[in-house]
Assembly symmetry: C2
Homo-oligomer: 131 residues x 2
DNA sequence: CATAGTGTACTATGCTTACTAATACAGCTA
DNA sequence: TAGCTGTATTAGTAAGCATAGTACACTATG
């Protein structure tokens, strides 16, 4: 009489965000926050599919993207596991954030906003984002 | 022998960005930078469609979105014109930027990044975005 | 009044892409 | 052998984009 409550994953079936993307985001955040530890085995494609009541292919697609990003690695016949170096994962995420900030700045500049103006906006978001 | 070079618009037909979206972006930047002035008349739906060799419906869709955002207003039988208050347009753009910054911060926080860490990243983008 | 130009609305079609599903295949391990 | 893994292939569904054609109502011009 086991209760498999592996549900650390929060999925919104009514969201416009694709299911596989939500899986990816979940795993990414869980690894970066240290909830999922290096070398830890992830739920199998079929098991997680059953648990979340979605198609195994959707999980497989999510795992494939996670593997492409280097966050996990998969061994056919064995399973899928969190990648080893947590510091590397964090650095990769940092670079990704930098890219997004860079794009935002560049677009803002093309609209004629100055650097000090943007910095002020950035700071004004600081307290607001606590919620 | 007139040469109608109204082409302040830069359109990339091979881009994945929808044509109508490129029109919107063009008008937005041109108004915010003061190239297009308040009350100035925009090229007609059909004229711009001819000039850019795209369908009039695509231009109409772009103008409709621009009107919904309040950047322009259209008078059936007259034409389409840049909205009056440039300061308002700029403030609207500012708020939109704030929204994007807010989202970025919130997502970064959910990945376990601290405020000082994010500020440092933000500053590091400052010189990089000059190009 | 007639004409031409304006924005707008509507339907239909082709095309591409993204997402999800169904099925089958191949490897590992007890 | 049996049952679990990940993976590959194919197909169906939906949505977005652009085009085309047609029609309507309004406005300015002559």
């Amino acid at each position: 009489m086991e209760r498999e409550e592996n549900t650390v994953f929060s999925i919104d079936y009514k969201s416009r965000i694709p299911l596989y993307q939500q899986i990816v985001d979940n795993v990414e955040k869980l690894t970066l926050r240290g909830i999922l530890l290096p070398e830890q085995q992830l739920p199998s494609v079929r098991a997680l599919a059953m648990e979340l009541s979605i198609n195994p292919n959707t999980i497989a697609k999510a795992y494939a993207e996670l593997e492409a990003r280097g966050l996990i690695y998969s061994l056919p016949g064995r399973g899928s596991f969190v990648s080893g170096d947590q510091a590397d994962l964090r650095n990769a995420a940092r670079e990704q954030l930098r890219e997004q900030m860079h794009s935002l700045r560049k677009e803002a500049q093309s609209m004629g906003f100055s650097d000090p103006e943007l910095d002020e906006l950035w700071q004004s978001c600081r307290e607001e984002a606590k919620a």
